[in-house]
């Protein structure tokens, strides 16, 4: 196939298979439980029909996949500087994406795609739904050449295509400046992202519980055995054993997740963009332009501080839409772990210089009022009331005391860590309790600014500030309002007189 992208061209023929498989996968996923129940309960004749039906679905999917493949073309319009996709079997749809609006290009390889040896290419723009602009099967050669064209827009690119195309194409000319090895990954897995893994485990546990009940119900003998099982096993010893097992499972899941997601993580400079690739089963390549990063964030918790690791996130514009968690993750590029030197290197690349120290603004002690009211006083009153009327909660008195101390400590830490640091070119917001994060914004990335004040804080000169950027808000609460107003005037001056564009 030619590498002249100005002519409309199709995906790789393997696209038929991929899109067929995708349809089948969707179908099976949606119908899994009803199908399983049906299979268990039915006789042989019905089984045969089911299998025939499934084969039918497969054939129809493949036929649909074929037509989808025939009707799907894409090309680059060099005059208008647009990337155009034509698609749709029944209704036609033409998507055109202006090249300068492209934020990042993702080249992924899922499991099936790895088997066949093709890649999918996704284009992220600020505002569009990324699923829309998705070419699901093209050869690696075309994918990487296309990515080059898309991100380097006007610049003439030599048509010399690197001959060898492995998972790390054009490897010859890029030397990754950050590479995360196995031992670092292990450290990362043991120290970070507990929250996410916990949510994942909870979801998984619930799904298992729910499905067991579903299957039991299918056999018409759900008499609450599952609940019974859980109830019978609850004693103090079993709870502590269970807790230890849970912590262990949590750590193991965390390590496995980290490995699957970030195995062979590399960042390399590529003309003026950053090429980030990682993944164990599915390879993910992302190319992004440093100018499109709106918020640069790095964070560290107690353990990570001891071993000198940082988490980084590069947040890009999301057009202010409500987003699913998945979209947020695709917009926020994460660097799971890097040393201080590597962190500085990335920041120099994105912000063009390292943030300098500036004036620090801390909140008034009244910052503590609301959290203390909601997390300490209200729960205490409720517990006290229940304690008075119901003897069942009385044995938990030590737990309540422990809760109050821990909550008090956490609120106090969050108060001492909450601050903004302002210098001429940077605004740095620090916050957090366990993971202490710093979010860095350059003033020209500001979209709008809000200030607010409660009437009873007027005489105390206390107020709040929110900076709105295309990648989310940054707020600073309970600051000196006169200082905040001065800062706002200063930033407005910078935004309104500056020539720099935010994207």
């Amino acid at each position: 196939m030619s590498l002249d992208f100005s002519q409309p061209q199709r995906q790789s023929t393997a696209g038929i298979l991929i899109s067929g498989a995708y349809t089948v996968q969707q179908f099976v996923r949606a119908m899994f439980i009803p199908l399983a129940i049906f299979l268990i309960k039915s006789n042989k004749a019905a089984l045969l029909y089911t299998v025939l039906g499934l084969v039918g679905v497969l054939i129809i999917s493949l036929i649909y996949g074929y037509f989808y493949y025939r009707k799907f073309t894409f090309y680059l319009d060099p005059l208008k500087r647009e990337f155009v996709i034509d698609k749709g079997v029944f209704g036609r749809k033409q998507l055109s994406i202006p090249m300068e609006k492209i934020q990042q290009v993702n080249i992924n390889q899922g499991f099936l795609q790895k088997l066949i040896g093709v890649y999918s290419l996704q284009i992220d723009t600020a505002g569009s739904d990324s699923k829309e602009v998705n070419i699901s099967a093209i050869s690696g050669e075309i994918a990487f050449a296309l990515k080059e064209h898309l991100l380097n827009g006007d610049r003439e690119i030599d048509t010399a295509i690197p001959g060898e195309l492995t998972n790390q194409p054009t490897a010859a000319k890029e030397t990754p400046f950050i590479k995360i090895g196995v031992s670092t990954l292990l450290k990362i897995g043991l120290t970070s992202n507990y929250g996410q893994s916990m949510v994942l485990l909870l979801g998984f546990g619930y799904a298992v519980f729910h499905n067991i009940k579903e299957v039991l119900r299918a056999f018409d003998n759900d008499n609450g055995q599952v609940e019974q099982f859980f109830k019978s096993g609850v004693t103090i010893i079993s709870i502590s054993v269970l807790l230890m097992v849970l912590v262990l499972v949590l750590l193991i899941t965390n390590v496995i997740r980290t490995f699957v997601k970030y195995f062979d993580f590399q960042i390399s400079k590529h003309h003026q963009s950053l090429l980030i690739s990682s993944g164990l089963l599915a390879k993910k390549n992302t190319l992004l332009h440093p100018d499109k990063v709106q918020i640069t964030q790095f964070s560290q918790n107690y353990f990570q501080k001891k071993i000198g690791l940082f988490n980084m996130a590069l947040k890009q514009a999301h057009a202010g839409k409500e987003q699913t968690e998945k979209e947020v993750r695709s917009n926020n590029l994460e660097v799971p772990g890097c040393s201080a030197i590597e962190k500085d290197e990335i920041m120099r690349m994105i912000l063009s210089k390292l943030p300098t120290e500036g004036a620090t603004y801390r909140p008034n002690f009244r910052y503590l009022n609301l959290p203390i009211l909601f997390w300490l006083i209200l729960p205490s009153i409720i517990y006290g009331a229940v304690y008075y009327f119901d003897s069942a909660v009385r044995p938990f008195f030590p737990v309540a005391i422990a809760y109050i101390f821990i909550a008090m400590l956490m609120i106090y830490i969050s108060y001492t860590k909450h601050r903004i640091i302002v210098s001429e070119d940077f605004i740095i917001k620090q916050s957090g309790i366990w993971d202490i994060s710093k979010e860095i914004v350059q003033p020209h990335k500001i979209q709008s600014i809000s200030t607010s004040q409660f009437p009873w804080h007027r005489s105390l000169d206390i107020g709040h500030l929110t900076i709105h950027t295309a990648a989310g808000n940054i707020s600073f609460s309970y600051g000196n309002f006169t200082e905040i107003k001065n800062l706002v005037n200063w930033w407005l001056y910078q935004v309104e007189c500056g020539e720099k564009d935010w994207m």
Binding site: A317, G358, S448, I449, N473, N489, D501
Partner: protein, 176 residues
């Protein structure tokens, strides 16, 4: 604040957003808000009177319910009044200001060169009073946007035109 002073700019000489005189919504907009409030209260009132007529338990202490309803209505009225009094906007040379809030007073400032687009809405009631709602969008998402209700329609059109003109001027150097 000394940390910022560099040779060319005196921070105290910067225009102060907090001292900008604000334009308040047109007095007629209070009518629109009032009609909205009355419609809303009437809706709840009808529901409540139906309950009083048909439900024995409610009927018994109808005085209490009616009292609650009147209290609620008075509370809402005060909130609406406060909200109306607080609102104000200003168009500066290089940005748009909008102040609002029922309890906390919030001022949002959108620099003109960060405006994505401007919309002018006319609701059914507002149209009867020749008022419009200006909506100013940025890439910063819904929380950082400005929605100015109760602007006389002619003025709103003029403002929108001015902002749009400004946008074209701003985006010109990009395209060429």
């Amino acid at each position: 604040m000394q940390n910022f002073t560099n040779e060319t700019i005196d921070l105290n000489a910067l225009p102060k957003f907090e001292e900008t005189p604000l334009t308040h919504p047109h007095q007629k907009y209070w009518n629109v808000m009032l009609i909205n409030l009355v419609l809303f209260l009437a809706f709840i009132g009808i529901g409540l009177s139906l309950l009083i007529v048909f439900k024995q338990e409610v009927q018994k202490n109808w005085m209490l319910w009616a009292g609650l309803f009147i209290g609620f209505a008075a509370f809402l009225f005060l909130l609406y009044r406060a909200s109306f009094k607080r609102r104000g906007f200003a168009l500066r040379e290089k940005d748009v200001l909008y102040k609002s809030g029922i309890i906390a007073e919030t001022t949002t400032i959108v620099p003109l060169n960060r405006i994505q687009h401007v919309a002018l809405n006319e609701g059914f009631l507002s149209r009867m009073f020749h008022l419009g709602t200006l909506q100013i969008y940025t890439a910063g998402g819904s929380t950082g946007e400005i929605r100015i209700a109760g602007v006389p329609i002619e003025q709103a059109k003029a403002i929108k035109e001015a902002l749009v003109q400004r946008l074209v001027i701003n985006s010109k150097p990009e395209t060429t």
